[in-house]
Symmetry: C2
Subunit: 295 residues, 2 copies
DNA sequence: TAACATATATCGAATTTTCCGATAAAGAGG
DNA sequence: CCTCTTTATCGGAAAATTCGATATATGTTA
């Protein structure tokens, strides 16, 4: 072996901060040791992992190319260390989810998972699809549950489940008993929807294509609960994922309005980094996602 | 990191030979260094990787449990070393296949693979299903193409393709023009088949269940080519995988005999070790197996 | 522009790790 | 009982890693 795990550790920390001093701090070593370790790694393989211009340090193209593989290797090494120290497959998982998925499904999934994996910590980070994808690609998250369509050379994107938006209103709304809303109906209604840029709004816009610009958007809110309350109060009709509405429909506080003429389906995906090392805990989590929580 | 890659290297070599002296030889180091390295690894994690009784050394239960993970880690480390030295994804692949698969498909698959991966060496080892499974489980082979049904806690077994045996005879055989052989017909014929224990024979026996003991086995041969020649010579009828016979049927040197009453289908599988690190070359090979060469 | 703050590289010395050769200890086989 | 083989251990040599100090380069601020 021409290199050591320690050298890779230094490389990764430096790659993350693009700063040797902070990397050395994190690894509890002197700056000179870190610098030397890095230099030695580069010397042994006769290559440049970083571009140096003065005191500035930047991952070189080669470094960027190698980083995923090295992250994966180090993660496996850490996992082995846990196995060696006898800490059985605990391992903390950091997962990302969009707002809708995070609030309405992921929390239940995590509760489910923790029942059988009492030792695993799960950290849920809620963000939009693009942010989650970026963090998964940068090994900051172990996996992500996202809404939007996405292409990324470093990511494994697998279909997870189908979701459907539902148009809904207060029970006393004039159209509450209608069994089919036409485009004409849609155009007369005041809409209360999620803000632009959210996955739910994107799906809504797509479903309304053709009449989108003529719709009357009465309110844009950032939280699904706010939208439901506004609709309950009779301020307009809403359009949200079915999973946000199940309870309200059961209670009768809101009612669905059928819109047969438009397609409100959308797909959800699971993303992981292609080169990600799948720890025991991550494997169990992914299995649970795909088996018990997919459609 | 409480351990080094070198220590893992020593552990693996020692685990393979269960002999420190030979392990040290392989790693070009002194026996004392190897012994010390091993001892240090055990001390750091306060555990016994080997059971010692006198001069005898044996992998402990813990050692056996840890070995797959360590094999996987070291393989990834070697793969990274290749990436660092700039040798692009060459990497030698050692694959196992049964006799039928090896001779009639795997060689073509390898030719196909090598066209696009000129730098990869592929080594094909032909053996029976049980042997291949054992070698894949012991990290001696990277993957295997097998026939029989199999259960193994350490192996990933995925369905690959469906095969079908075909009963065949020489063109001038009295039944050559028959369009459906009955069980009565089967019982009157002299059979030339593969030897007991082979996957093909197992499939044959299964297909013939009920009348198996009453069949007239005229000859058992170990090679498919021998069986075909014997059948051509009019010594009896044969039963082999369709892929061994395609050419002969095209040439007209042999003809298939339809046996609608019996099920000659069988399944082929791809096996890998669950903890196996999938190198770039292995990934490409598995993709080729499943995309271009599966049914 | 000068003074300062910040970041990386380099050097020698101290420390730690790794390795070797020699040797002791412990079976296995005649 | 002797010989051969194998593992463990010891002291010292060699190599590596690390640290503190310092040189160098470069932004920043007065």
């Amino acid at each position: 072996m021409r290199y050591s795990l320690r050298q890779l550790e230094v490389f990764l920390a430096t790659a993350r901060y693009e700063n040797v001093t902070r990397a050395a701090e994190e690894l509890a070593m002197s700056q000179s040791a870190a610098s030397g370790s890095l230099k030695e790694l580069e010397r042994q393989f006769d290559m440049k992992l970083f571009d140096r211009q003065g005191k500035r340090l930047q991952l070189s193209e080669l470094g960027q190319q190698l980083r995923p593989q090295i992250e994966s290797l180090m993660e496996q090494a850490r996992s082995l260390e846990h196995a060696l120290t006898g800490e059985d497959g605990a391992g903390r998982l950091e997962i990302g989810a969009t707002l809708t998925i995070g609030n309405y499904i992921a929390v239940n999934m995590i509760a489910d998972f923790r029942q059988q994996n009492t030792k695993s910590d799960i950290i849920l980070r809620v963000a939009n699809t693009a942010t989650i994808a970026k963090q998964v690609a940068g090994f900051e998250l172990d996996m992500g549950l996202i809404e939007g369509e996405l292409q990324h050379p470093d990511l494994d994107i697998v279909h997870w489940r189908r979701d459907e938006l539902v148009v809904f209103a207060a029970p006393n709304h004039p159209l509450a008993t209608s069994n089919a809303l036409s485009d004409q109906d849609l155009l007369t209604l005041p809409w209360i929807v999620r803000e632009s840029g959210s996955g739910t709004r994107q799906a809504f816009d797509r479903a309304m294509q053709g009449i989108l610009t003529d719709l009357q958007i009465a309110m844009e809110l950032q939280h699904t609960e706010g939208i439901k309350r506004a609709v309950e109060a009779g301020l307009g009709v809403g359009c949200l994922s079915q999973i946000c509405l199940e309870d309200a429909f059961k209670r009768g506080s809101l009612v669905p309005l059928p819109v047969p003429g438009r397609d409100f389906r959308r797909e959800w995906y699971i993303i992981t980094h292609r080169d990600k090392f799948h720890s025991a805990a991550l494997k169990r989590w992914l299995t649970l996602c795909l088996q018990r929580w997919s459609t």
